[in-house]
């Protein structure tokens, strides 16, 4: 099953390159078959437990190992479904928005890179996946043409620097232990100087690639410059890849003293991201930049949950971490598609363009508001589930008043930037006239993930159970 999930996007891409005319069709077909396969993998994992594969039939240590646990299969399913949704949106709008033909093979490669990353448990193979992901993301950003070249180049250079840092760390670990397989490495791990420095280097590289505060500077420009479907994919999925590796490193490899030293820093960075990202989102005059800054802020929640998980070792924080990732992926896809649709129809990049959008484009605005509700953490959305797990974990630890207050403040900030857009949309006195008649289908497609993130509440119990025991 894992092989199918890896081979299908690969073959799909190759055929798209050979016959560019049928590329959109192939992309949609690949994404839908992959979604079904991912669903089957999820069932398989929940019935028979974790699936492990040693590639090429060599013994452990020599071979690359892949592992599908329930978290990986959930993330693969999310990737495939979002690919399908964004593919449909791009198919519905590619004539109007002049989306280049390069989008289809590139998005399919993105799916391959992400699937390979969620499955891999080998440090060097993870590097190759990171590289694949980085280059595909840059190529996708540059689809916007000349105006995107500068952000894309910045993204490329920083992403390469991040990869290089990660690779240096892998080289040091290989020199010290002689293995690359994470499970084998974890058994031999010693908390000494080389391993600490390797971990620090890898963390630096991954934080840069995942746009975690304070290394987030490239993200708003790059995500705002990309076409709407690309921004949705980048914000929803691509930044989560390095975050996943970061969690693998610190949860599976790092020793107790190393974890204790770094946990407050992670939590602090997360909090700073929440507050400063929120303030930036509140101040920016451009609609897409606001959504992009909100990604920086929301990644802060994941970082904060990781820091608290490392510090208190409480399974609720693990659940909070992955719930944030899932809820944010769905909500952010909806936000970017809705904002992309509104700015394309109303013709403007500034946030003032949204004026009166509740009248002119009610569906898209509804999608934005619903997704924004999850970003704020209103019950009963996925964002609320995550935040509730975080608060409950903090409450159970006791005496964590500072963090509780900080989270409340962050919630108010996110409410402020979401409502800033929503209030403008309800300013019906002088609405911005659409350039052409709004189209229904893309707006519905933007609404789908927003509804899905609220539907997460229906499955809150199994999700919480699953992610609590997982924690990687």
């Amino acid at each position: 099953m894992m092989v199918v999930l890896l081979v299908l996007p690969l073959l799909g891409t190759l055929f798209m390159l050979l016959w560019p005319k049928i590329a959109p069709l192939l992309a949609l077909l690949t994404a839908s078959v992959c979604s079904l396969a991912a669903l089957q993998l999820l069932f398989l994992v929940s019935e028979q437990g974790n699936q492990q594969v040693l590639l090429a039939g060599w013994p452990s240590g020599l071979a690359i190992s892949l592992e599908a646990n329930s978290l990986s299969s959930l993330l693969i399913l999310l990737t495939a479904l979002l690919q399908l949704l964004v593919g449909l949106y791009a198919f519905a709008t590619h004539r109007r928005d002049k989306l280049g033909a390069g989008f289809w093979p590139l998005s399919c490669m993105l799916q391959l890179g992400l699937t390979a990353l969620w499955l891999s448990r080998d440090l060097f193979n993870l590097y190759v996946c990171l590289e694949l992901l980085g280059i595909v993301a840059v190529a996708l950003v540059s689809l916007s043409g000349d105006k995107a070249i500068k952000p894309a180049l910045n993204y490329l250079l920083l992403s390469l620097f991040g990869s290089l840092c990660y690779l240096l760390g892998v080289a040091i670990l290989y020199g010290a232990y002689g293995v690359l397989d994470i499970t084998v490495l974890a058994a031999r791990w010693q908390a000494d100087l080389p391993s600490s420095i390797a971990l620090l280097l890898m963390t630096l590289g991954l934080m840069l690639k995942a746009a975690l505060w304070p290394l987030h500077g490239w993200l708003p420009a790059a995500h705002a410059a990309a076409p709407a479907p690309v921004s949705a994919l980048l914000s929803a999925l691509v930044v989560k890849g390095p975050l996943f590796i970061l969690c693998l490193l610190w949860l599976q490899l790092a020793g107790a003293t190393q974890v204790a030293a770094v946990a407050p820093w992670f939590a602090g960075c997360g909090l700073a991201a929440l507050l400063l990202g929120g303030v930036s989102a509140l101040r920016t005059p451009f609609a897409k930049n606001m959504v992009a800054y909100s990604t920086v802020a929301q990644l802060g929640y994941a970082m904060l949950a990781l820091g608290l998980l490392l510090r208190f070792n409480q399974p609720l924080f693990a659940a909070a971490l992955w719930l944030f990732v899932l809820a944010h992926a769905l909500a952010k896809a909806a936000c970017f598609l809705a904002i992309g649709e509104i700015t394309a129809t109303l013709g403007g990049k500034r946030i003032n363009t949204l004026k009166g959008a509740s009248q002119t484009m009610p569906l898209a605005m509804f999608a934005f508001a619903v997704a924004g509700g999850s970003l704020i953490g209103l019950p009963p959305s996925g964002g609320f589930l995550a935040k509730w797990a975080l608060l409950q974990g903090l409450w159970l630890q006791g005496g964590q008043l500072f963090w509780l207050l900080a989270i409340v403040l962050a919630t108010l900030l996110s409410a402020a930037y979401v409502f800033r857009a929503v209030v403008l949309a309800f300013d019906r006195a002088d609405p911005v006239a659409p350039d052409f008649a709004p189209r229904i289908l893309p707006q519905w497609l933007a609404l789908l993930p927003a509804l899905a993130v609220w539907a997460m509440a229906l499955y809150s119990e199994p999700l919480l159970q699953l992610l609590k025991q997982e924690g990687l």
Binding site: M2, V3, L6, V7, L10, L11, T13, L14, L17, L18, P20, V53, L54, L55, A56, G57, W58, P59, G61, L62, A63, I64, G100, G102, P105, L106, M109, L112, A116, F124, N125, V128, C129, E131, L132, I135, V136, V138, A139, S142, L143, I149, A152, L168, I172, Y174, G175, A176, Y177, G178, V179, D192, L193, P194, I197, A198, L200, L201
Partner: protein
């Protein structure tokens, strides 16, 4: 003793060339110094007993990257000058790099001197891998999934570069360089074929052979030859894609050929067929790498050339 002196001079030269390339005021000078740096780097790899890396560095680091930088310079406006940074702006990156360097050096000095146990495991497994050169065995058998993904990364680099590729202006070439490039072409093909074949038992293999082939093709392309070599030509596209495609098809075929086995193992070559499969995969990978690198470095042919090419429009 003599080799120690050689190593010391090589290290000094590497550092000097790197600094000179970074601090150079003119981009053209920086590129020339960078090419020289690549050559010295290849020597350094050879001294570190990594001839595979030395070959790749000489072909890609010194050769193709240099050509790429020069063709990028040719597209720049002539009046464009690099921004001169003031000292405080240079200081922060320098401090950061020195800190990182210190950390890495401290870690490297603490590393155990003993070789990894994996080397013993590799030696044990090499009999069943189909080749006798350990680097090739690792690349195309033990960790073939990495290599497959690396080939995808290379393909992606081409796709990404095509998004932002500038218009190529038709230019005329110099008769002497045209004659030389034609004279060199058969030699390059012969040498690349040898490197590919040698990869089974000694340093060499698909990446090196492909890079060499690409270098020959780039020289021809810079002299306005090979106008049929463009992305819009279906057969060229097929060859570029074939590097990954043959790899995947072979892996699927290997699954079919494994008899009486219920559990499917991805990318496992049957031992008696491994040598043939690896040679086939490497052959197509070489062609794909050569064409990808050529298109990456030289870009599409000028529009006058594309018209009488045999390509069908995409």
């Amino acid at each position: 003793m003599r080799l120690l002196l050689f190593d010391a001079i090589l290290c000094l030269l590497l550092l000097t060339l790197a600094l000179a390339s970074i601090l150079s005021r003119q981009l053209a000078h920086a590129v020339i110094l960078y090419i020289a740096f690549g050559l010295m780097m290849a020597l350094a790899w050879a001294r570190l007993a990594a001839p595979d890396l030395a070959l790749a560095e000489a072909a890609i680091g010194a050769g193709l990257t240099g050509a790429l930088c020069f063709s990028a310079l040719a597209h720049q406006q002539p009046q464009l000058k690099p921004d001169v940074l003031n000292w405080p702006k240079r200081l922060w990156p320098a401090v950061f790099v020195l800190l990182m360097l210190g950390g890495v050096l401290a870690a490297l000095l603490q590393l155990p001197p003993s070789a990894s146990q994996l080397i013993a495991v590799t030696q044990a497994g090499i009999g069943n891998s189909g080749v006798s050169h350990p680097v090739t065995a690792v690349l195309l058998n033990f960790r073939s999934w990495d290599t497959l993904l690396e080939l995808v990364v290379l393909l992606l680099a081409l796709l990404g570069a095509r998004q932002v590729a500038p218009e190529v202006k038709p230019a005329t070439s110099w008769p002497l360089s045209l004659g030389w490039s034609r004279l060199l072409a058969p030699m390059v093909i012969l040498l690349a074929g040898y490197l590919l074949w040698a990869g089974a038992s000694q340093p060499g293999g698909a990446f090196q052979a492909g890079a060499l082939l690409a270098a020959g093709a780039v020289v021809l392309r810079l002299n306005q030859q090979l106008s049929w070599l463009s992305w819009s030509n279906f057969w060229i596209r097929l060859l570029i894609v074939s590097g990954v495609l043959v790899f995947v098809l072979m892996a699927l075929l290997a699954i079919l050929l494994t008899p009486g086995n219920t559990d499917v193992v991805w990318l496992r070559w049957p031992p008696h067929l491994a040598a043939g499969i690896i040679l086939l995969v490497e052959l197509f990978a070489t062609l794909a790498i050569a064409l990808t690198l050529t298109l990456l470095v030289a870009g599409e042919p000028a529009s006058t050339g594309a018209e009488h090419g045999c390509g069908e429009g995409a």
